[in-house]
């Protein structure tokens, strides 16, 4: 199962790879990382249909924001689930994300237990 993380902070890759070390090792998860909205869209477009089932995206990024990316993905690949991960856990961002079709909203610092449960639910649902 392929999951895409989008964040302008490059260290996110190390953090998530280490956090999901066991799951990656066991082959349950395959992680990919993009460091901007555009990069994420390019990655998704490179495969037809994309193998990604879930995208977790930061909101505050230079260039395309996470919320814009959310709308793009939802219009182009409605089958892909998208959740937001943001330091700005305010009502406005939350409402906008939810009305644009986001599945979940995680605030930074990320609660990895919750994140793992979310991913596990996806795996078992498949």
């Amino acid at each position: 199962m392929k999951i895409l993380f989008v964040d302008d902070e490059r260290d996110v890759e190390d953090l998530f790879r280490q956090k999901f070390r066991k799951e990656i090792k066991s082959g349950h998860l395959e992680l990919a990382f993009a460091f901007s909205g555009q990069e994420a869209l390019d990655l998704l477009n490179s495969e037809d249909p994309p193998k990604f089932v879930y995208v977790f995206s930061d909101i505050n990024m230079p260039g395309m924001s996470g919320l814009e990316l959310l709308e793009e993905i939802k219009s182009r690949f409605p089958a892909i689930q998208v959740s937001m991960i943001s330091a700005y856990g305010d009502q406005e961002n939350y409402d906008k994300a939810m009305s644009s079709g986001a599945k979940g909203f995680f605030t930074k610092p990320v609660d990895f237990e919750k994140l793992k449960l979310e991913i596990a639910a996806l795996t078992s649902g498949k």
């Binding site: 190390d14 956090k19 305010d90 930074k108």
Partner: protein
């Protein structure tokens, strides 16, 4: 002899009459009266030619002499001197005539013509003196009128002066009170200006802190996440280690790993400290999200003071505190953002605990820590007071107390934002926060909330 007495009578009559303008003492009036009676009697006797004529004539001279003497020697009558000497020559001639006639009628016949002539001169003299006297009297009268007028003017001037003085005093006091009012207004203005500057600073600081907080939050999250992750890995390593045979190198590695573990714990601890500051800062600057609902303030106070107490007891350095609630049970429900306002109660009670802990650690065996929380219905407002018997707040830092990042707490305790946030929340409820304190005795935080914020 009638002439002499007529002179006496007219002199006395004149004196009596002129006493109208100038007040003579009672004694003189009596003299005038008796003198006039005596003159009248003598005139009557003179007309009737009753004997002994010589004696009466003598008495007439005595009387006129006495009247003239009185006029010349009485201080009150000195101004009539001219009048007094007016009849003197006539009296003198008459006296001479009388003496000569009495002593030797023969000589009298010889000198009678001369005496008559002398009488004429005396009469001319008298008329002259009389005119003189009239002139003098007129001058005196004019002088008197002038003096009177001057006095009147002086009185008037004085009256005007005192009126002016009164007016000046009135105006002065008016000006003084106006000055006082102005001073008051100025002081008020200065205080308001200071407040405005403070608020302006706070507002820009709020925006700045929000920005800083967000910028710091991301790297801080990495610090915390990676340290947590590393701790997890260390845990895994320590699970793997027993599988490796013992050796001095392994011993050294285990030692180092132990150090790394404790270092990571420190990184984690300080990271979460920074995180709680950042979170407070964000909460500080965020616009109120919760809604204002009618709230049972007393219940909220009971719940959160209790929470603060148990939180304090569960944390390091618990203290024994007597919490007294004197809540006004008739308090109506107040429109509050209860999520925000509960932080106010928590912060103030926690703040009191921290202050009293300081006093307790100062080794005072008699000291018993006590917090009193009061509510009172003040009509259109509600008063909430949180008072502790801690060390108090020195005057010079009292107004700094509400500034962000100002803290008296040592080392790692406190973010310096608690009271600042508390103040902001109260302000967002359109309330006021006042701090009363006496060093070494107490600190009292008084909150005034309007009952209805429409």
């Amino acid at each position: 002899m009638i002439l002499i007495n007529l002179i006496s009578l007219s002199l006395l009559y004149y004196l009596k009459k002129s006493s109208g303008a100038q007040e003579f003492p009672e004694r003189l009036h009596r003299y005038f009266k008796y003198g006039m009676i005596a003159a009248g009697v003598l005139i009557a006797l003179g007309i009737s030619n009753a004997p002994p004529e010589i004696l009466f004539e003598l008495l007439s001279f005595v009387l006129v002499g006495a009247v003239i003497y009185l006029m010349l020697n009485t201080p009150e009558l000195v101004y009539l001197k001219t009048l007094a000497i007016t009849p003197l020559p006539i009296v003198g001639v008459k006296l001479l005539e009388y003496l000569v006639r009495t002593i030797s009628p023969a000589i009298f016949e010889i000198v009678e013509n001369y005496l008559d002539a002398a009488g004429v001169f005396a009469f001319i003299w008298a008329v002259t003196m009389w005119l003189n006297h009239r002139k003098q009297m007129k001058e005196i009268e004019i002088e008197r009128i002038i003096t009177k007028e001057q006095e009147r003017q002086l009185r008037q001037t004085e009256e005007q002066k005192s009126q002016l003085e009164l007016l000046v005093a009135e105006r002065t006091s008016e000006i003084l009170s106006q000055k006082e009012e102005l001073q008051h207004a100025l002081d008020h203005l200065r205080a308001t200006q200071e407040q405005l500057i403070q608020q302006e600073k706070l507002a820009s600081l709020g925006q700045l802190t929000a920005g800083i907080a967000h910028e710091i939050k991301n790297p801080l999250n990495f610090v915390n996440n990676f340290s947590e992750l590393s701790a997890d890995f260390l845990h895994e390593i320590s699970e793997e280690m027993p599988k490796i045979p013992d050796s001095p190198e392994k011993e050294n590695i285990l030692d180092l790993l132990e150090n790394i573990k404790s270092n990571l714990a420190k990184i984690r601890h300080h990271g979460s400290r920074a995180d709680s500051i950042v979170r407070s800062m964000l909460m500080h600057s965020r616009g109120g999200t919760g809604t204002m609902d009618p709230t049972d303030l007393n219940a909220l106070i009971r719940e959160y003071s209790n929470l603060a107490f148990h939180g304090m007891r569960a944390n390091p350095n618990p203290i024994n505190v007597d919490i007294q609630l004197s809540l006004d049970e008739n308090l109506p429900k107040i429109k509050l953002n209860s999520e925000d306002f509960s932080r106010v109660i928590l912060n103030l009670v926690k703040n009191a605990f921290d202050a009293m802990r300081e006093k307790l650690s100062a080794k005072n065996p008699e000291y018993k820590a006590k917090v009193e929380i009061r509510t009172r219905d003040l009509g259109d407002k509600v008063l909430i007071e949180v008072e502790d018997n801690g060390p108090g707040v020195p005057d010079q830092i009292r107004d700094k107390l509400l500034m962000p990042f100002f803290t008296t707490k040592k080392g790692t305790e406190g973010t310096g934002l608690g009271l600042s946030i508390t103040h902001d929340i109260i302000k967002s409820h359109e309330g006021t926060l006042e701090i009363k304190s006496e060093e070494g005795k107490f600190t009292c935080f008084s909150i005034l909330l309007p009952k209805s914020t429409e």
